[in-house]
């Protein structure tokens, strides 16, 4: 195998120039970082090189964010292949066992108990988020929202931890602004932009996290 022998420019670039993308991303060793910084200081064209690499990263990131994500059906198919029982819900396994032991007579009581559990999960999330100062995960009454918003009603998979929910919402730059309503439903807000719309779509498609999703006025 040859190494890029037919390149459009046969000039051998400086090692520091080669490392610019990693300098921009921050995934660079301290030694290499010093090498690049020294090159940036000595090279008059360096700032333009750096700006180009930085722009490339920003554009690549923005473009990749629009590439979507696997569908809920795909996730269900994976879980069905791994363990047929988990196709419904891994986290609900204990509920299945409980259900199996209930006669129809007690089923209604079981539903009520499950409803209370969902409410309890909601209460815990609400309690914890009300003390959170992070900008991306807030409850109703936190008057930090600016600009027009689009909203959605969401219920989370029982058993999913607060950390997982927080991480997913942070990644998508979404906020909980209200809830839980009966049934463990939360109101999620996103900026009224294409990016916000895409973020809500991503959340909607996240089968490992979301059991119910509906756009809201």
């Amino acid at each position: 195998m040859t190494d890029e022998v037919n390149d459009i420019d046969s000039r051998i670039p400086d090692e520091a120039e080669l490392l610019l993308p990693w300098y921009v991303s921050g995934r660079i060793s301290p030694d290499d970082k010093r090498k690049v910084e020294s090159w940036l200081t000595e090279n008059p064209d360096a700032s333009a090189h750096l700006a180009r690499a930085s722009e490339e990263m920003d554009l690549t990131f923005a473009d990749a964010e629009a590439l979507g994500q696997p569908t809920r059906q795909s996730f269900d198919a994976l879980m069905a292949r791994i363990e047929p029982k988990t196709a419904k819900s891994v986290a609900s396994g204990w509920i299945d066992r409980l259900w199996a032991g209930l006669s129809p007579r007690y089923a209604l009581a079981g539903i009520a108990a499950l409803f209370l559990l969902v409410l309890a999960q909601g209460a815990i999330i609400g309690l914890l988020t009300s003390s959170s100062s992070g900008p991306a995960f807030q409850v109703a009454g936190a008057e930090t929202a600016v600009g027009p918003q689009q909203k959605a009603l969401v219920a989370f998979v029982p058993g999913v931890s607060l950390a997982e929910i927080t991480s997913a919402l942070d990644d998508l730059r979404l906020r909980i602004i209200d809830g839980p309503a009966p049934g463990g439903i939360y109101t999620i807000a996103a900026p009224d932009t294409d990016a916000g719309k895409a973020a809500l779509a991503s959340l909607s498609a996240n089968a490992a996290l979301v059991t119910f999703f509906s756009e809201s006025d």
Partner: protein
């Protein structure tokens, strides 16, 4: 479940057939893997299939994780191999040969004139026109935030080749920008 359970700890649980741990690992990594695979294959359905094949392999072979790299790097390596295997079956261009880096997709897939209005759209056009190997490395470095060593491990090439391949991918990107009417002043 520990809220901050590491990926390595999850692999331990997956080895013990804990499907809940696999669900968490999937939640953490599926989107990034999918986007990498869409870039690599140019096919959303195939990307989705490869994501599932990747996690199925994790489920079956979690104990084979050596621990010398991060779990995410390991996942990217599995996902890439899955994609290459599928592409080979479809008789598409092999990505692991250096010559593949030189072959570009010359077909116009979108309205270039309209795209000039939006630099991000131009970026999409330009990335799509890169060779598969160049598309891959741009994504791994700029979107997936992998270090030189991590890219070398995922792609299976020496670290110096990672650096030069990225350099040439960037130059090709700039060439495509120029063809779309945007002169970036380099090369």
């Amino acid at each position: 479940m520990e809220p901050d359970e590491t990926d390595k700890a999850l692999l331990g649980r997956i080895s013990a057939r804990d499907s809940g741990a696999l669900r968490i690992l999937y939640t953490r990594h599926n989107v990034r893997l999918y986007r990498f695979l869409v870039r690599l294959t140019g096919n959303e359905a195939l990307a989705e299939e490869c994501v599932n094949e990747t996690f199925l392999k994790v489920w079956l072979k979690a104990e084979s994780f050596g621990g010398q790299s991060s779990v995410s790097t390991w996942l990217f390596t599995i996902a890439r191999n899955e994609a290459l295997s599928h592409l080979r079956k479809r008789r598409e261009a092999p990505l692991d040969e250096e010559q593949a880096a030189q072959i570009e997709d010359e077909s116009d897939t979108q309205d270039v004139t309209a795209a000039k209005k939006d630099k991000c759209a131009v970026m999409r056009l330009c990335i799509d026109k890169l060779s598969p190997a160049h598309r891959e490395i741009i994504d791994l470095v700029y979107y997936q935030d992998l270090s030189v060593a991590e890219v070398a491990e995922v792609v299976g090439i020496p670290e110096n080749t990672v650096k030069t391949r990225m350099f040439h991918a960037r130059k090709q990107l700039s060439e495509h920008f120029r063809r779309h009417g945007i002169d970036r002043g380099w090369p």
